[in-house]
Amino acid sequence: MTGFYNDKVIDHFKDPRNVGVIKNPDAVGYVGEPAWGIDAELYLKIDNGIITEAKSKAFGCGATIAAGSVVTEMVKGKYLDEIAGITNEDVDRALGGLPATKLHCAKLGRDLIQAAVKDYREQHKGQRDGYR
């Protein structure tokens, strides 16, 4: 099928990874504005600075849902300071390249990670992210 999105985006859209919420998460990232048609949340379990579990939910266009899904895969097993460095381009690459008009959805993925990192660091002010 010749579609607007590539197969990777469609795959994440059809079958989003790690959908849901984590009870008692160590960090939560929230991005969005339903009035703009975008809303997403990312839940993380963090152990010794390592992301052990990630779940997300997303409301938005196909690219938004795919970005919400792919970031859960991108952060899992990584150190907090590693995921803090994930860029828009990294998310875009992980999705095999979004259409030009949808690059802001890759930014949403990055913003989601940043929001979760910020949440964790605010809860643990003055502490290091963890051992490595």
């Binding site: 999105y5 339903p34 048609g37 409301f59 266009c61 949808k102 690059l103 959805c105």
Partner: protein, 388 residues
Amino acid sequence: MKRIYLDYAATTPTDPEVVKAMLPYFTDSFGNPSSLYSYGQENKAAVDESREKIAGAIGAHSDEIIFTSGGTEADNTALAGVAWANKDRGRHIITTTVEHHAILETCHFLGKNGFDITYVPVDKYGMVDPDDIKRSITPKTVLVSVMQANNEVGSIQPLEEIGRIAKEAGVYLHTDGVQAVGHIPVDVNSLGVDMLSLSAHKLYGPKGMGLLYVRRGTHIAPYMRGGAQEKGRRAGTENVAGIVGLAKAVELAMTDLENEMRRQTLLRDRLIKGLLDTIELVQLNGHPTQRLPNNVNVSIDYVEGESLLLNLDLEDICVSTGSACTSTSQEPSHVLLAMRVTPEKAHCSLRFTLGKWTTDADIAHVLEIMPSMVARLRSISPLMKVKN
């Protein structure tokens, strides 16, 4: 998988009979209607005959038809042409907040170039109150432009009444009839319009073809300057095949109009009822009865329109949405916002537009797969917790 096309308001497939009528004009009869030899004159006759057929179908005289490249050019010509030709009489134009961008953008342009534009609001059904038009008319008003039927929500405007008001006040009335012609009865005299825009590809004709009806005596300047085609009102060699195709499309539409209106209204109402009955938290956008026979527009809470469109596309079902999610704009449909649908609900809107090849089975299939599709998207939507 059989494709189910439910976006007839975006464009229609060209009817094979229309294509058949057009074909000879690409190869055998290729002459320029302006040429004096018989090759050209044969085509001039085809253009004249088409013009007469189309004029008859909308209650016009054939000399009141100006062929254009489509609805957008017709809208631009009507507004800019009247504004320019009457600028010494007055520089005020009245339109509505729910017009097509071809009207709105032209009005914005005129607004920045010395004209005053009044955008009359609509009610929650997308309907214009004729009294609002009446109250907006000033001695400087030269033109009122109100669409006959809305392309997004299908609301049919009370044009006859607006026509009477315009006539009484001595101002021109233009209507964008792009979504109406071929779908509901259109008669320029009973509507009381001085100008009407029409597009061929919305009624099973070819893309790139349209017309502007201009009542005799209307002061209007040409939009395209050049040769003397269309009595000097629209320059450029005639799109002979397109004109013949438009005439055929109009002829076919008129033959079938009442049957199709009845048939599509039944399917439309079945689809609306089915969606409201089988899915929770759904609202119909637009007027429940004063709407085009082929238009269904709903907002499905907590499911963004484009995501549902994409999901339907994966099942080979084509629809459209009033949501927008591009790097340059997150603003949803101006029509829904003008109807005071909240931005959240506007982003959750989905439009189905039916056509003459839509079947009972198509509607049944859509109704069968929609509930689980909506449930899936709601299960991944963080907004759904609002309800839980």
